[in-house]
């Protein structure tokens, strides 16, 4: 485990950064992509925990660092749980519904990475938030 060069140090740093990255993104206010997963009772019952895990896993796979994934309370669209709201900097927040493992990964690879809208998953805002 002895570090004998700057390269050794950088290797250890990269591995450790993955583990503490969510603290840095927590502090930062720059262009962070925020993903909010509805984890109220209906959300959890519909499988939001698996959705959350899938999002985290895909983010790590794609090696994206400017993403913050948080769980929130009830977003209000109980008919379409699990729901995920995505705030891309400079864009209107979009809520996706019925997000299972596969869809969650597509949100990352298609919407977040390439701004490709997933039309059939978007939930229309039917009420105005206070």
């Amino acid at each position: 485990m002895a570090i004998k060069s700057l390269e050794d140090l950088k290797r250890i740093r990269e591995e450790s950064q993955k583990k503490v990255n969510l603290r840095e993104t927590g502090e930062s206010t720059d262009d962070i992509v925020e993903l909010m997963v509805g984890m109220a009772t209906c959300g959890i019952a519909a499988g939001a925990r698996e959705t959350l895990s899938a999002l985290l896993d895909e983010t790590e796979k794609q090696e994206l660092t400017n993403i913050r994934i948080v769980q929130v309370g009830c977003l209000g669209y109980c008919h379409s749980e699990p729901t995920v709201q995505v705030n891309l900097p400079g864009h209107e927040p979009i809520i996706f519904g019925k997000v299972d493992d596969k869809r969650a990964r597509e949100i990352i690879t298609r919407y977040v990475m390439h701004n490709e809208m997933l039309e059939d998953s978007v939930v229309i805002n039917t009420f105005v938030k206070a």
Partner: protein, 596 residues
């Protein structure tokens, strides 16, 4: 499959641990296991967030929510409501006192808004007992880079940054390292002064508890520059948690090859050992410290020769403060220019202050040099407790002086505070209100310095004792005009003739309080009165005749039976017998008792 998606950072500084942080952590971990969330959520014991008056503190990442005054019983709510359901636990949020608003983002809080954390950069962000986390936040990269530089170039970076000793002396760190570098010697030493003797100061302790590696890395950098292969950390035994964290850090650094032989394959060897001090204030003075490390009694010796020529075991030695070291890695990572762009013309960078006393927000703050006292006390500190009036702020511990309302807009730096009769010192800042007696404060500090005097030189050994005797006479009502003159003359004499900094600065609290609060001293001496009631021997109560209805409530509670008067007749307190306990004041329902 589960992955860690939330970190619960719990403050593990001594303050929060004493308030139950360890129990809180165990409770959080147990509930996580119970609910099956332990693979997704990690509890991290971290360093001091600085907001000590509101501890224990829990910060949730990446949500960036800041919970205050969290007890073990709150663990259930944090997990069930926030972690599982994503609903913030409102009642644990900080309530900002002026607008009475709940705040969850700590960067918006008035306590944190003006702070710039450089020395404290990792405190609250990392687990200090895990070296990989320090590395994740660019730890040891500075050392790797410095080892590829020529020593002359590296020391130039430190000189250009303008970093000055944070222990209070304010000597240019770059210059000190250069002088030691140039001193001839077959073995040199670099020593970290972690004695932190000032009462009420805990800046260094928090850095060592929350980010020990920053000090280890800086010592290695300093060692390389000056040519020392051995580092010693002199830390007072009263800091068991800091000692433990340092021991863990040193062991891990050795394991990873970051301390020991041939660091980064450069051929440079460096290792560190810890030496415990026995808590003598004088051992914070560098020559006394060196003698203590040598195993002798901690007594200062004359300078020159300076330690950079002849110090520990008569070899070239460099002694630096913990906070000075904590600034070294960022200087190399971000550049000397970056550091020099912060602060004032002669005092660069930031300073950590331990804000204590009668302020609302007690704790550790780090601000750029040049921030004014008013900003620190009123904006960051949240103003005086219970809406009392500000009287003075004492800076620099027992070596410093008081600063009054007139000078509150002074920008803080080494030279500006000296110019108004105080000093920045190591960073202690004690705020006082209208109920503090200035003579009593001077007596408190002198009592401390007299106890801590090593006894070697007559001016300090005898002088501080005589000054204390005069102050005691004054606070007991036996002071005379001659006492005031003698006090002042003694003070100047001791300042001029004492051997080391302890004696040379011990009279400062007296001189400073006499300069700004002369009328309080005269009140004690000529009128035998202490307006604040702190000096018990002088505090006398009296009854306002117009308001007294003769209910006898006061007479019944007086412990020395000094209140006379019949029922329904005005009562009178015998001034000679009154011991100033205040029981009558508390008992009277008609505000007829006058508090002195």
């Amino acid at each position: 499959m589960a992955k860690i998606r939330t970190h619960l950072m719990v403050c593990g500084g001594t303050g929060c641990i004493s308030s139950g942080a360890d129990t809180l952590i165990t409770e959080l971990e147990n509930i996580l296991v119970q609910k099956g969330y332990d693979k997704e959520v990690k509890v991290v014991k971290t360093g001091c967030f600085g907001f000590c008056g509101q501890g224990p503190i829990v910060k949730v990442h990446p949500d960036n929510v800041f919970y205050v005054q969290v007890q073990a019983a709150d663990a259930k709510d944090i997990i069930e409501e926030h972690v599982i359901k994503g609903r913030h636990v409102d009642r644990l949020l900080y309530v900002e006192p002026i607008e009475n608003q709940k705040m969850d983002l700590h960067r918006d809080m008035p306590f944190y808004k003006k702070q710039l954390r450089i020395a404290l950069r990792n405190c609250g962000m990392i687990d200090p007992e895990n070296i990989t986390e320090y590395i994740a936040f660019r730890g040891y990269e500075a050392l790797a880079n410095v080892l590829t530089m020529k020593r002359e170039d590296a020391v130039k970076v430190v000189k250009d940054s303008g970093l000055r000793g944070r222990g209070g002396g304010g000597f240019s760190t770059g210059m000190k390292w250069e002088l030691t570098m140039r001193s001839p010697g077959d073995q040199k030493y670099i020593i970290c002064n972690a004695d932190e003797g000032d009462p009420g100061a805990f800046m260094d302790r928090s850095i060592l508890e929350g980010d020990p590696h920053s000090v280890l890395e800086a010592m290695a950098i300093g060692g390389y520059i000056i040519g020392a292969t051995k580092g010693i950390i002199y830390i007072r035994a009263e800091y068991p948690l800091a000692i433990h964290r340092l021991e863990v850090a040193i062991a891990q650094a050795r394991e990873y090859g970051l301390l020991g032989k041939d660091l980064f394959g450069s051929g440079f060897d460096f290792d560190i050992e810890i030496k415990l001090g026995a808590g003598a204030f004088v051992c914070g003075e560098e020559t006394a410290l060196i003698h203590s490390v040598e195993g002798k009694r901690g007594e200062p010796t004359k300078k020159p020769p300076f330690p950079s020529e002849s110090g520990y075991l008569n070899k070239p030695t460099c002694v630096n403060n913990v906070e000075t070291f904590a600034n070294i890695a960022p200087i190399f990572l971000n550049g000397a220019e970056w550091f020099a762009s912060i602060g004032t013309e002669k005092s660069k960078g930031t300073k950590v202050f331990a804000l204590a006393g009668k302020v609302n927000n007690v704790g550790l703050v780090e601000v750029p040099m040049g921030t004014t006292l008013r900003e620190i006390i009123y904006e960051i500190g949240g103003g005086i407790q219970n809406d009392r009036a500000f009287k003075a702020v004492q800076t620099g511990g027992p070596s410093g002086g008081v600063i009054t309302v007139a000078d509150l807009d002074t920008p803080i730096d080494y030279d500006s505070l000296k110019a108004i009769g105080s000093m920045m010192g190591s960073g202690g800042m004690i705020v006082m209100d209208e109920d503090n007696c200035m003579v009593d404060i001077a007596k408190f500090y002198l009592d401390f310095t007299k106890d801590e005097s090593c006894g070697k030189c007559t001016p300090c050994r005898v002088g501080t004792k005589r000054m204390l005797e005069i102050l005691e006479r004054i606070t007991e009502g036996h002071g005379t005009a001659e006492d005031l003159d003698n006090l002042q003359a003694l003070a100047y004499m001791i300042k001029d003739s004492a051997l080391c900094g302890l004696g040379q600065t011990a009279p400062n609290p007296v001189l400073s309080t006499m300069k700004y609060f002369r009328e309080e001293y005269e009140n004690h001496v000529f009128n035998k009165r202490c307006a604040t009631g702190s000096c018990k021997a002088l505090a006398k109560y009296s009854i306002i005749a117009d308001k007294c209805i003769g209910c006898t409530a006061c007479a019944r509670v007086c412990p020395v039976n000094c209140i006379s008067g019949k029922v329904k007749e005005v009562h009178v307190i015998d001034q000679d017998k009154c011991i100033g306990c205040g029981a009558c004041f508390n008992a009277c329902k008609f505000s007829a008792v006058l508090k002195p």
